[in-house]
């Protein structure tokens, strides 16, 4: 006697019946599924529908094959990779990976050199020796002239000029406003940052008056290294880009 009530079927596991149809049940599940199909009208209808739909799916007509798919000798020649072509593609792969590596290294080098140039002066002023040399003062004046010294630091610089009275007179200071900044932005900026630290008294007494030599750059002696890193990185980036895009540009030019 089959039970066909909706409430009875609602408790039945339909997926078990579907898996029974797909022959995807273990012995115990199979027994339960067979009980469902034998005892429930809905489950039996589901099982029958699955069979009919699968049969209709398999019986769907297929149109005649519109053409032969055999390969011609020309197809074969086009598809079979020749040893020369294989070598060429190997070489292309090598240049591409080398180019990528060079470009990445170059870019990283430029970024690192750039980052150290930007952040180093702000991090180093405390460790730098005070400088009272004329060069340094001239640099300060240049910074003033270029408007790089913050307004709060400018009275200090004026006081220093007045106190020493040797390096720059007040008329010089007015002239300096017209002098173009000789130092690079990095140097001017570093000097501008250092300026507020030096006190007039210390300057007058000549404390830490050892002058910076030209071989000893103002930002801790690493500018030369940074410059080298920057140049090498730029070179690497250029080589990398050439390796990456050079062959493509060449082939495009040949095609056009």
């Amino acid at each position: 006697m089959k039970t066909g009530s909706a409430t009875g079927h609602a408790n039945h596991d339909e997926s078990l019946v579907v898996r029974l149809y797909g022959n995807d049940v273990g012995p115990e599940e199979r027994s339960r599924a067979l009980d469902l199909v034998a005892g429930c009208e809905e489950c039996a209808a589901l099982f029958a529908d699955l069979g009919q739909i699968a049969w209709a799916t398999a019986a769907r007509p297929t149109p005649a094959r519109p053409r032969e798919f055999t390969l011609t000798a020309a197809d074969a020649a086009r598809l079979r990779p020749e040893p020369q072509a294989r070598g060429r593609s190997l070489w292309r792969g090598l240049t591409r990976s080398l180019g990528g590596a060079f470009a990445a290294l170059g870019l990283a080098g430029i970024l690192i050199a750039g980052a150290t140039t930007t952040f180093a002066p702000a991090a180093q002023p405390a460790s730098l020796p005070y400088s009272n040399s004329q060069e340094d003062q001239a640099g300060n004046q240049n910074a003033l002239g270029a408007g790089l010294v913050p307004p709060s630091a400018q009275p200090n610089a004026a006081a220093e000029s007045a106190g020493t009275g040797s390096a720059a007179s007040s008329s010089d200071a007015t002239k300096l406003a017209a002098v173009p900044p000789a130092a690079s932005f990095g140097e001017s900026a570093s000097l501008a940052v250092r300026q507020p630290v030096s006190s007039p008294s210390a300057t007058r007494q000549g404390v830490g008056a050892a002058p910076l030599s030209p071989a000893q750059p103002s930002s801790g002696g690493s500018v030369d290294t940074r410059l080298v890193v920057l140049i090498v990185s730029a070179g690497l980036l250029l080589i990398g880009l050439l390796l990456l895009f050079g062959p493509r540009l060449r082939s495009r030019r040949i095609r056009s």
């Binding site: 997926s15 199909v37 009919q52 769907r60 149109p63």
Partner: protein, 214 residues
């Protein structure tokens, strides 16, 4: 409790011995042809094409119900097979070619999702072989057309992963493990897709149930 119900799909153990022998013989021929093709004999590869082109076209056509697109996919599959012949690692050439063809069909399905085409082929067309409409009686012919259209529409409404699994299982007779290999997913995923797809198909076709109850 091992009796089988009428309509239940036969398991792999129930394949008749003669069929299994014929399959093994076919695999031996395929393997020899692959060997010859690898030595550069185009004729041998073309024999493989001739042996499998009908099956592959039927398979792809059920996945991509557009004759021209299906033909393009099959041609592309044979090109790809020729190009990658050296990567064939033994086993069933039929499954290997099937996998390549299904991948080509799936590429087309993905592009069709962006640019949908009509899933209703004209069954009255002369080019169907054997003729799509078997019955001579007009009423029965109308019913066949209706059934085929309803089924095509319902299959088209399924997610293509479910549809592909159902077609590979019901139409082409691949087993779960072969479909898993072809689709590049686990056997459990294939089973789940087939079972869920079957239930969805039944729900979609419920209003037209009479068309399917002979």
């Amino acid at each position: 409790m091992n009796e089988r119900l009428a309509g239940e799909r036969p398991g792999p153990d129930s394949i008749p011995a003669e069929n299994r022998r014929a399959e093994e013989l076919g695999q031996g021929i395929d393997a020899a042809l692959v060997e010859q093709a690898l030595r550069g004999q185009l004729e041998a590869f073309n024999q493989l094409v001739v042996r499998h082109q009908d099956h592959l076209f039927a398979l792809v056509y059920h996945l991509v119900p557009d004759r021209d697109q299906a033909a393009d996919a099959v041609q592309e599959a044979f090109f790809s097979a020729y190009r990658n012949l050296s990567s064939f690692r033994g086993g069933s050439v039929r499954s290997w070619l099937g996998r390549i063809a299904v991948n080509a069909a799936m590429d087309i399905q993905r592009s069709r999702r962006r640019r949908p085409s009509s899933p209703y082929p004209e069954l009255e067309d002369e080019s169907w072989q054997p003729p799509a409409l078997e019955s001579e009686e007009p009423e029965a012919r109308t019913m066949e057309v209706e059934r085929s259209r309803a089924l095509a529409s319902a299959l088209d409404a399924l997610p293509f992963e479910q549809r592909n699994c159902i077609i590979l299982f019901d139409v082409d007779g691949y087993d779960y493990a072969e479909i898993a290999e072809i689709m590049g997913v686990s056997v459990g995923t294939v089973k789940s897709r087939i079972h869920r797809g079957r239930l969805a198909l039944r729900t979609l076709l419920a209003p037209m149930r009479e068309l399917f109850r002979g």
